[in-house]
């Protein structure tokens, strides 16, 4: 039996395949084998999704609202049975503490805290028209990641990997680089849901073993492990002789050999010390405030270079209910330089055209704040009706700002789309048609958008 490479995910039916492969020895099959896109001409082949958990404020990042200067600290009351406790009661408006600049030739507006990103602004397509449906972190996270507010459904990374397969059969197709602490809602944010488990987001961990139990405990050498596998192979072979008809056995034996090889390969990919000093510096590895995120962005680039299909990088702390000046400035600082360097690095390597980069969080923030603890602490609450996000790379309408919010940033009013349309657009940019990317489960063809969505044409270049 000839097989060029082993599969990260060996499906249960591989044994059956073994029979067929006697006829077609060259064909490799498996759940992660690269597949033809629905729109084969699309540019983006891979995606890096930069997830700013907590809900970054559009008003203080990419959606300036000068009107708020006039309203600053003006008080008002709000009550409605469709409001949360957080959104009710005495409120006051809050102006943005930041000045805004027009960056690049395209003049994209962003706050002056984006010192590095502004230098590559012409690569961005900023979108101000997206609306979420939930103002709770976990449900909004689930929604942004899986299209379903209640979790349990496959994440967009799982769908993309399901649709396109992966270019490296020795690595997972969908990798998640979380912070040490998982975001609200936990691992269900990168769940494969009802898709087969090969499409689950595999977390490569910032600390500790990159994949759980990747290495044997201390006291077991690689040679020792080889011996274990030899005995295992021997016993399994004798067993298989008694069960020649049982197709799953071969696949399971192979999964052990693959695991054994992954133990060797994965640590090499993670070893970012191999990158030269100036690259490390560009990603902010020499600065305590940017190191943590920069390290993961550098890893993200190494992963997509090696054919991983979808990488999601999390960073939290954007939930600035109070003192937004300090907290958002600090958050922006921690991601600004690494992100700008990632975009430049991808561009220099000729990868930006093939890589869709998405920046965003689960919702935006309100133009006003509630009184908490008796004082005005100049922050913002959650806002499902407006948010800002941007895309770069792979086929996006770069150098543009699409959609807009009302004059105080309370609500999107122009090119307004729900999250499902954003998802459908991301799929389209990746060459996938949401209506065709379906999976039969529980008696129904299911899809990321749940019941279908609309491509936001303006975001596509």
């Amino acid at each position: 039996m000839l097989r060029r490479e082993f599969l990260y995910g060996v499906n249960g039916g591989l044994g059956a395949l073994a029979f067929h492969s006697m006829l077609k020895a060259e064909e490799v099959d498996g759940p992660l084998v690269p597949k033809v896109a629905h729109f084969p001409k699309t540019k983006a082949k891979r995606c890096i999704f930069l997830y700013m958990a907590g809900g970054p404020s559009h008003i203080d990042t990419f959606d300036p609202k000068p009107k708020l200067k006039d309203l600053h600290l003006k008080k008002f009351q709000r009550q409605s049975k469709f409001l949360s406790a957080m959104g009710s009661g005495e409120r006051y408006y809050v102006q943005s503490p930041f000045d805004f600049i027009k960056a690049g030739e395209s003049g994209i507006e962003m706050c002056d805290q984006w010192q590095h990103l502004s230098s590559i602004a012409d690569e961005l397509c900023v979108y101000r028209g997206c609306q979420a449906e939930s103002i709770n972190h976990p449900t909004a996270n689930y929604h942004m990641n899986t299209g379903n507010r209640f979790g349990g459904d496959p994440a967009i990374g799982s769908w993309v990997t399901y649709g396109l397969g992966s270019e490296n059969q020795n690595l997972p197709g969908y990798v998640v680089l979380p912070e040490v602490a998982y975001p609200q809602g936990g691992a269900a944010n990168w769940s494969n849901g009802y898709l087969p488990p090969h499409y689950q987001g595999t977390t490569l961990r910032a600390k500790g073993s990159p994949i759980l139990d990747l290495h044997p405990p201390k006291g077991v050498t690689r040679e020792g492990q080889r011996n274990h596998l030899n005995l295992l192979g021997g016993l399994n072979a004798l067993h298989a002789e008694r069960h020649i008809q049982h197709n799953d056995l071969a696949a399971r034996m192979e999964s052990y050999e693959l695991a054994y090889r992954m133990q060797m390969e994965v640590p090499g990919i993670l070893d970012i010390d191999k990158e030269n000093q100036s690259t490390q510096e560009d990603y902010g590895l020499n600065d305590k405030r940017t190191e943590e995120f920069g390290r993961r962005l550098l890893l993200a680039r190494r992963l997509i270079e090696r054919g991983v299909r979808f990488v999601q990088v999390y960073t939290a702390g954007w939930d600035s209910h109070d003192y937004i000046k300090r907290s958002h400035a600090e958050r922006i600082r921690s991601v600004d330089k690494p992100i700008a360097s990632l975009l430049k690095d991808l561009k220099e390597r000729g990868l930006l055209d093939e890589t869709l980069v998405v920046w965003g969080g689960e919702f935006g923030r309100t133009p006003d704040n509630g009184k908490r603890g008796g004082g005005e602490r100049l922050g913002r609450d959650h806002n499902k009706n407006a948010m800002a996000l941007w895309m770069a790379g792979g086929g996006v309408n770069k150098g543009s700002v699409i959609g807009g919010t009302d004059e105080i940033g309370d609500k999107a009013v122009d090119v307004v789309h729900p999250i499902r349309d954003l998802h459908v657009t991301m799929l389209k940019l990746m060459g996938l048609d949401d209506n065709k990317l379906t999976y039969f489960h529980g008696g129904r063809f299911k899809q990321l958008s749940q019941t279908g969505g609309e491509v936001i044409d303006q975001l596509i270049g």
Binding site: Y8, G9, V10, K81, F82, S84, M86, I135, N136, P138, F150, G151, G152, V180, A181, Y182, P183, Q184, G186, P196, P197, L212, D213, L214, P216, P217, G219, G224, N227, H228, N230, L231, L232, L235, N236, L238, H239, H243, Q245, H246, D248, A251, R252, S255, Y256, A259, K288, A316, G317, S320, S327, E330, R331, G379, N435, T438, G442, G443, F445, E454
Partner: protein, 874 residues
Amino acid sequence: MVRLPLLTIIFAFLGILKAQSSEVSSELLFAHKIQPLFKAKCLTCHGEAPNNKIKGDLDMRLLGGLIRGGESGEPSIVVGDASKSPLYLAVTRVHENDWSAMPPKENDRLDGVQIGYIKDWINGGAVWPSDKRIAKILDSPDPWDTGKGIRVKTSGGIDPVWTNRKYEEDKLWAYQGLRDIKVPGELHPIDYLIEKSLPKGLPISPQADPGTLIRRVTFGLTGLPPTPIEMKKFKVSWEKDSVKAWSELINRLLDSPHYGEQMARHWLDVVRYADSAGFSNDYPRPHAWRYRDYVVRSFNNDKPYDRFVKEQIAGDEIDENSPENLIATGFLRMGPWEHTAMSVKAVTRQQYLDDVVNSVGVTFLANELKCAKCHDHKFDPIPTKDYYRMQAIFAPVSFIERQLPWQKYENKKGIRKDQERYQKLIKSDGIKSIKTLPEEDQPIIDFDLESERAGHSKVKNKRRQQLNYQLKRAEPVVFSVSNGKPDKIHILKGGSIESPESEVEPGFLSLFNGSEKSSSVTKNANGRRKELADWIASKDNPLTARVIVNRVWQWHFGQALAGNPNNFGGTGKSPTHPKLLDWLAQRFIKEGWSFKEIHRIILSSAAYQRSTVPLDPQALAKLDSLGTSYSVFKPRRLTAEELRDSMLLVSGELNPAIGGIPSHPEINEEVAMQPRHIMGSVGPAYQADPLPSERNRRTLYAERIRTLADPMLEVFNKPGPDISCEQRENATIAPQAFTMLNSPIIRSRALAFAARLEKERPNNLTEQIKLAFQLAYQRLPNSNELKLCLENLEVFKKQHQTNIQEKVEVPKYVVRQMVEEMTGLSFWWVEDLDVYAGGNYVPDLKPWDVGHGTLAMGDLCLVLFNSNEFVYVY
């Protein structure tokens, strides 16, 4: 039927010559076929989308819109010529280069007959009569009606077209009454019905050998392997009288308390059992375990299923003084639920009602009722009105934590100890500054005191909240519901609480009785659920018995007769053996809804006892490509829980106690210490129970925290607890190998297994290997295997002589980091690990506790745990 196509051809030929007759036909066609088709397939985007959005600028609500066309600038129809009409070209889906396929979803594609209607309508002049005229036309019979298809009377759809629509008969199979299936007396009815639909020429495999059978059925009924003694006894009685031996074995297993555990595991997959509430805070549900144990008890006591159903839906209404009834209503609160300052009260309530109605539908009726929330059900005869009438049944439900003394049959072990632990914890600070650590252990950082102060105060607050929930566990409380004053329930347009429409009265699905009136329940706050439960758990409800026997069949055969056990609607898989399903359902009812009886019947069939070896593999591949013939028995991999429980049983570590407060097995240490964001803080670190006997319980009892899955179980396809699982996945993925080979936890099982072998067969490697095979595989090794093992033991031993086992201590504290939202800077804290630091923690057997010989035998045991023979059941 024959007449019409002929006419069509003529019309097509005549083209734009609008003969009078073709116009008449086009008009009729529009009223009967085209308008319903547009409504069902097109208008959602082209005319009736929210916010008056019109996709592609094509408005299909009126003829003018079609003639004007969409953004292409071309008219969508050329009256009289379908072949030039983009509308027609798009629905054929073969002109994609010019006109994208419509409707866009493959799911919604038109069939050949529907495409023909559109063609004929356009060619016939695309006549679009007035609404009045349409109403008149619809008074006369549909000339295209082939007589096929069935109308189902219901309480009525939002849309009259929906109300009158027809269903293909075979899509309604589950809603039809149970049929009496006649079987000849001398044959086992299951075998008779299976063999009757067996493909011709496909031979049936013979009965499996007794060793295979006892392993198969012991796993099936208890989730554990047989012991060597059980195996030996069974083989002896099998020699004497195989039929008698088999039925005695079944009876013994059905009497085992582990039977209820295994059945509960299946049931809890469906009802989404967890010990925490999920979402932002994932607060503990300190008394959910009483429901879990109620399920175990119900199966062990062979509680009739109709009663089991009624108790879970309406236990409190049936008898508020029955402890079991109250505990059972925990079912109504099993879904994830949370209300915080960031949620809208009305939304939270609506989410609950949506969740409970769907859960009842899926669990007992195999119908995803939520499909009818925003519109009448697309495929099944369930109008939106029924969905909200079902909600009205649950409108009085309010959550209540009732006082209910511990019952004598409940396992109260550990409750006091648990209480003492949390009392101690709540008095202690638990959170310390990193400045209290020795300097070398402090993370090197820009320490910011303001961030620490603000952060610690929130973290402590959150810790107190969590601990207060944990403290409640000691109170004899039941996680249950009661009735309050019901809110009025309205149909919500598009499912949105901001668009209430007409009010509805409480009632159940109307499709069986045909009207709203005949499916309504009391309007009193009390008794709505009881009436619902009576309707569900009735022998006259064709779904209930079918749904549960279908699940039971899957528990034994690994696949259900109707392939989507949670969806018996038109989109679910039809039963492969409909008569068998009906026969089983009837028999189940006849036996008083007894699970144990239906198990006896199924397990006594030849179909269950067949070998996994096909007599003619080629014939099998050719004649039974879907694997539904039951001519061979299908091997299966152990479930996650069975795998862990088997290792514990074989290693001699399993504490087989039944029930009680959740246990805390060892889980991967990184995951245990992994911080999980909860609202404003990080969830508490996971710590295993201090004593092996406490943590080495059956996996069923391991605490299920929604945001913290045990990775070992997860990697072996234990489903998440947020959506109902109708069937487990069993795919093989590489991380399973990492866990089974490298996890220190699995290695501890292997070492304990080795130590057991050495204790029971001291100083005799051959005997130890023999015992290992007997325990793990329930058979002796053959000479090849024995030789292989002995040789490898030598290799392993040599290896260990050159290796030094470094002792790894359990952590006594964990350092947490978060970004303080008020400052945007990081802060840190030290979280005490009270169990590990408390001095009472007794670790499992570890590599540094034993000598080279045991280590080598441990390696051998680890290989056995990893082997295919251990993880597959034949």
